[in-house]
């Protein structure tokens, strides 16, 4: 057989040639089959381990299970913050090829739902890709079923049953209890629930202060899913653990009463048990509905809350600081007694008090009493009763600022009442060192006089004032302020006495006169009956009064714009025979303490006296 380029077909012996060519083809086929077999051996034997992992990764999806948040109860065992079931839709970036496409398909299934694709995209892209992001928070059952039917068209989108927080008492408790909303990025590190984007965390109030107790523990499960993400079966599960219950010392009915009484005003009320330090009410007005935070809140609502001049978002019982005004006088009096000044010693009040001041042309500075014509001769009891400023200017000057500050601090002023509240303010009790450190200048004598009537640098909160008064009229027993019931040694007295009861008796008597004797500053608000209240008014200035205004006559509060009016304060206790409750009331820009705050305190005491002296308690056992 010859090969020749001359012929197109290589052939002389056709039979032989075909056999040869067929044999070559057969060898090639055998070669190809060997390659295929080798490839299969490589994939199925050598790489088996890797592909097995990939296959499991395909079919097994890990899901976290949201824990139910602990319930918050009041003193009587009424649930205040509870959980309701809700139906929600989430998306997981990792499990969809195109987040936007999935969202658009979702919108086409639910044309009525407001789905802000741009916002969700932003959220999805800013988080880790395996974290589920909530799309719709609170679906109706009809929509929920509709989505479940169409879920195979919605790559990466899932439905789940979650919980939403519901506040049974609405706006009367909102500042105290706070609210929950999605975990923010800054909280991600410290909150294990952040693995679940739909999980919420307390943002303020008890919800935030006790978040670690309330939040519970995440559960998780492994589920087998098909290619479209539908759950086929559950492989294993660790159930979530509900957060612990919390019982507050707050009586929700009293709290509600206090809040209602503040309606239309801007201010706060604090009610404390003088014997054991339990707070029964911490109300603030105006308020907001905490349940709006359970749904995604609109920007407009949020802006309105923020820009409102009455500051509805602020808890005015612990987060707003006010000069205590005349409510400080009982504590200044105590400082005087402890410094050896007799309560019988009288001072003459002619309406003003002068001190040397070389910086002024006249060579002296005038400090005015609130009563222009003066009180005449006043002793300590009368000074407290009629709230004589000149008396307190003089004893303050004799006692000195450091002694006044020491007494005030001993009573808890200038210090946070509830250590765990992030939004709580500590107030300011000024002394020489404080001024040097904070303002960098030396203390002036005139500043001691201002401090003596609770003005100047002095700042307090309503809760502080009620606590301070409680410790004053319980014969000087140091109290442990309590808000959470059943913790922190319930009903156990801290036996430490922080003042001489002999002095306190004098002050208590003066406070009694201030309310229950004619000419007393809160005489008009006195309670007639078996149980009586007593207390001290306070009016704190928020503006400087010029010499010119003094000469022309003071502008009356009602003629001033709201934000220029004086704050009205009142601290009181009752019943006077065996004191049980101490109350502080602050009415922002309410004018005078006697006119705005004392009547509210009076009503609260009437409520307390009428509704059995002992508030009902019903212990909730932690589950």
């Amino acid at each position: 057989m010859k090969k020749s380029g001359k012929f197109i077909f290589q052939k002389y012996d056709t039979e032989n040639l075909i056999n040869r060519r067929a044999a070559l083809v057969t060898i090639a086929k055998a070669g190809v089959f060997s390659v295929l077999a080798g490839r299969l051996a490589y994939l199925q034997i050598a790489e088996n381990g890797n592909y097995k992992k990939l296959s499991d990764k395909n079919r097994i999806t890990h899901r976290f299970l949201e824990p139910e948040r602990g319930i918050i109860f009041d003193l009587q065992g009424r649930p205040i913050a509870v959980n309701k079931q809700k139906y929600e839709i989430i998306i997981i970036k990792e499990e969809t090829r195109d987040v936007e496409k999935s969202l658009v398909s979702l919108r086409s299934i639910m044309p009525n739902a407001k789905i802000d694709i741009e916002k969700i995209l932003k959220e999805v892209n800013s988080r880790k890709k395996f974290i589920p992001i909530g799309i719709i928070d609170d679906l109706t059952w009809e929509d929920f079923s509709k989505i479940n039917v169409n879920i195979h068209k919605l790559e990466g989108i899932y439905t789940q049953i979650g919980f939403k927080r519901y506040y049974t008492q609405g706006e009367s408790h909102s500042h105290l209890i706070g609210y929950v909303s999605p975990i923010s990025k800054s909280e991600e590190e410290s909150n294990p629930l952040s693995k679940l984007s739909t999980a919420k965390a307390g943002k303020i109030g008890v919800e935030k202060a006790k978040d670690a107790i309330l939040r519970g523990k995440l559960g998780n499960k492994n589920i087998e899913v098909n290619a479209s993400g539908r759950e086929i079966r559950e492989l294993d599960r660790v159930n979530s653990v509900q957060g612990n219950y919390i019982q507050l010392t707050i009586d929700s009915e009293l709290q509600k009463f206090c809040y209602e009484r503040l309606k239309g005003l801007s201010g706060s009320v604090s009610v404390i048990n003088v014997k054991n330090g339990e707070f029964y009410a911490l109300a603030s007005s105006p308020s907001y509905d905490p349940n709006i935070f359970s749904k995604s809140i609109s920007n407009e609502t949020w802006e309105n809350l923020l820009s409102n001049k009455y500051k509805p978002l602020i808890n005015k019982s612990i987060s707003n600081q006010y000069p205590p005004g005349s409510t400080i006088k009982p504590f200044v009096a105590l400082a005087a007694l402890e410094s050896g000044i007799s309560h019988k010693e009288t001072f003459f009040c002619d309406g003003k008090h002068l001190i040397e001041d070389t910086s002024l042309d006249s060579g002296y500075k005038t400090f005015h009493c609130w009563k222009k014509e003066g009180h005449g001769n006043v002793d300590m009891t009368k000074a407290i009763k009629v709230s004589c400023d000149v008396y307190f200017y003089q004893i303050a000057r004799r006692v000195g600022i450091n002694k006044i500050a020491e007494v005030c601090k001993r009573y808890g002023l200038g210090e946070k009442v509830f250590k765990s509240f992030y939004e709580e303010k500590s107030g300011v009790v000024p002394n020489k060192q404080w001024k040097l450190e904070n303002l960098g200048s030396r203390w002036m004598v005139g500043e001691t006089l201002s401090a003596g009537i609770g003005q100047g640098y002095f700042l307090t909160t309503a809760a502080q004032l009620s606590l301070a008064l409680a410790q004053l009229i319980n014969n000087g027993v140091r109290l442990n302020p309590k808000l959470i019931y059943g913790t922190e040694n319930p009903n156990v007295y801290d036996e430490r006495i922080i003042a001489d009861p002999k002095y306190l008796k004098i002050i208590k008597n003066a406070l009694d006169e201030a309310t229950n004797a004619p000419e007393g500053t809160s005489y008009r608000s006195r309670i007639i009956g078996k149980y009586k209240m007593a207390g001290k008014t306070g009016t704190s200035q928020v503006r400087a009064i010029s010499i010119k205004e003094r000469e022309e006559g003071l502008i009356k509060n009602k003629d001033l714009p709201w934000e220029k009016r004086d704050h009205g304060l009142f601290i009181g206790y009752g019943p006077i025979t065996d004191p049980k409750y101490a109350v502080s009331v602050i009415v922002e820009h309410g004018g005078s303490g006697s006119g705005s705050a004392a009547p509210i305190a009076s009503d609260i005491f009437k409520y307390l006296f009428k509704n059995k002296l002992n508030l009902k308690r019903n212990e909730i056992f932690n589950v």
């Binding site: 012929f7 052939k11 075909i18 067929a22 295929l36 299969l40 199925q44 098909n226």
Partner: protein
């Protein structure tokens, strides 16, 4: 002229001559396919398995009809049959059914058929007749013009459908006959060289999705959720099957729908997942045995036509198997080629049975000598 008695005895004689091992292997493959489809349909015999069975029975009928015909008659009508199949390709753009962006099917009496599946075999038929009939001593290059034209025309018609996979199989099947017929190997060298040179030009004519598939073939991780998805999931299914597989009807990749097209082009993967390497090797061996027997039977024929035809059928069958398994194991791009006898698909089943009918006919009539007169 035969009388009736002669016809019966002649048919009986033909049936007696059937090669049983080959038919046995075909049945084996059918049952493997049936088992696979039963698993995929989650134990519902009435869906895919039932239709698969019906198609196999229809295929068997075609197989036996082809056997009964006189080989000389088939030889005589080879060009006519080829021409008819080309006509069916030509009318597709006008009467065809569109699906997934491609028009490949025509509806004949309520049955959707894919003519391109049959053209693979009719081309072999026409080429076999041509190469049988020419004078092999010809030194004129024009001898090659006709077979080149009858190969290129169906290939182009299928490319425009567009169905690159089937076009490639038709082309490779045709070229394999050029080789078998003894064409000087230097023409193959020239051919391969000119194809390589024209690749950049051909590339321009590829549809975007076809280009994507080629890109993806070279780098499946390029877009694991897009075009690489098929290949990745297929490899995961095969690889996770391991040596012994996950067990019959226990394949997670297939039963949880991670495998695309698992009842058709990717059915091999599903078997690999459930039966492991043992299963895939077993299947590979059955195919190898079937091809070996086919080659042996082909070489027993005395006429060139029979040899060409049988070897051509065998080559087309081999290409089917190779491209499909190569594709699902990630050795070849995803081109959409079914696994013969096992994949769910009517046209493929009927065409393959038609092809093996021709092969068996050649074997039964292996002693018939066909003159070159009909050229």
């Amino acid at each position: 002229m035969y009388n009736q008695n002669n016809i019966y005895s002649s048919v009986f004689a033909k049936l007696q001559n059937i090669n049983c091992p080959l038919l046995g292997l075909i049945f084996t493959l059918f049952f493997v396919g049936l088992a696979a489809l039963y698993s995929i349909s989650n134990g519902d015999f009435n869906s895919w398995p039932l239709k698969h069975t019906q198609r196999f029975i229809l295929g068997l009928i075609i197989f036996f009809i082809v056997i009964i015909f006189d080989l000389r008659l088939i030889f005589g009508y080879a060009y006519v049959i080829f021409f008819l199949s080309i006509i069916s390709l030509v009318i597709i753009p006008f009467f065809g059914i569109e699906s997934n962006g491609a028009t490949r099917w025509i509806n004949i009496a309520g049955i959707s058929l894919q003519p391109s599946e049959f053209v693979k075999y009719t081309l072999i038929l026409a080429l076999a007749k041509y190469f049988h009939s020419i004078n092999n001593d010809s030194s004129f290059i024009k001898t090659l013009i006709i077979p080149l034209i009858i190969t290129i025309v169906p290939v182009l018609l299928v490319i425009i459908q567009p169905d690159l996979g089937t076009a490639l199989i038709i082309l490779l099947g045709g070229i394999s006959l050029f080789w078998i017929s003894g064409l000087n190997y230097k023409y193959f060298i020239v051919g391969v060289f000119s194809i390589l040179c024209s690749l950049p030009v051909l590339w321009q004519y590829l549809k975007d999705y076809q280009k994507d598939r080629v890109f993806t073939f070279f780098n499946p991780e390029r877009d694991p959720l897009g075009n690489g998805y098929h290949i990745m999931q297929s490899k995961i299914a095969l690889g996770s099957g391991g040596l012994f597989g996950k067990g019959y009807m226990e394949g997670t990749q297939s039963h949880l729908n991670f495998l695309p097209e698992m009842q058709t082009d990717f059915i091999f993967t599903m078997l690999g997942e459930e039966f492991g390497f043992i299963g895939t090797l077993f299947l590979l061996l059955i195919y190898a045995a079937l091809i070996m027997i086919s080659i042996r039977l082909a070489l027993k024929s005395r006429s060139l036509f029979s040899k060409y035809l049988s070897l051509g059928v065998c080559n087309v069958f081999f290409i089917y198997v190779f491209v499909n398994i190569g594709m699902v194991t990630g050795l070849l791009p995803v081109v959409g080629v079914p696994l013969p006898f096992i994949s769910y698909g009517g046209s493929s089943m009927l065409a393959v049975m038609f092809g093996f009918g021709l092969l068996m006919n050649c074997y039964i009539n292996r002693n018939i000598i066909i003159e070159k007169t009909n050229y």
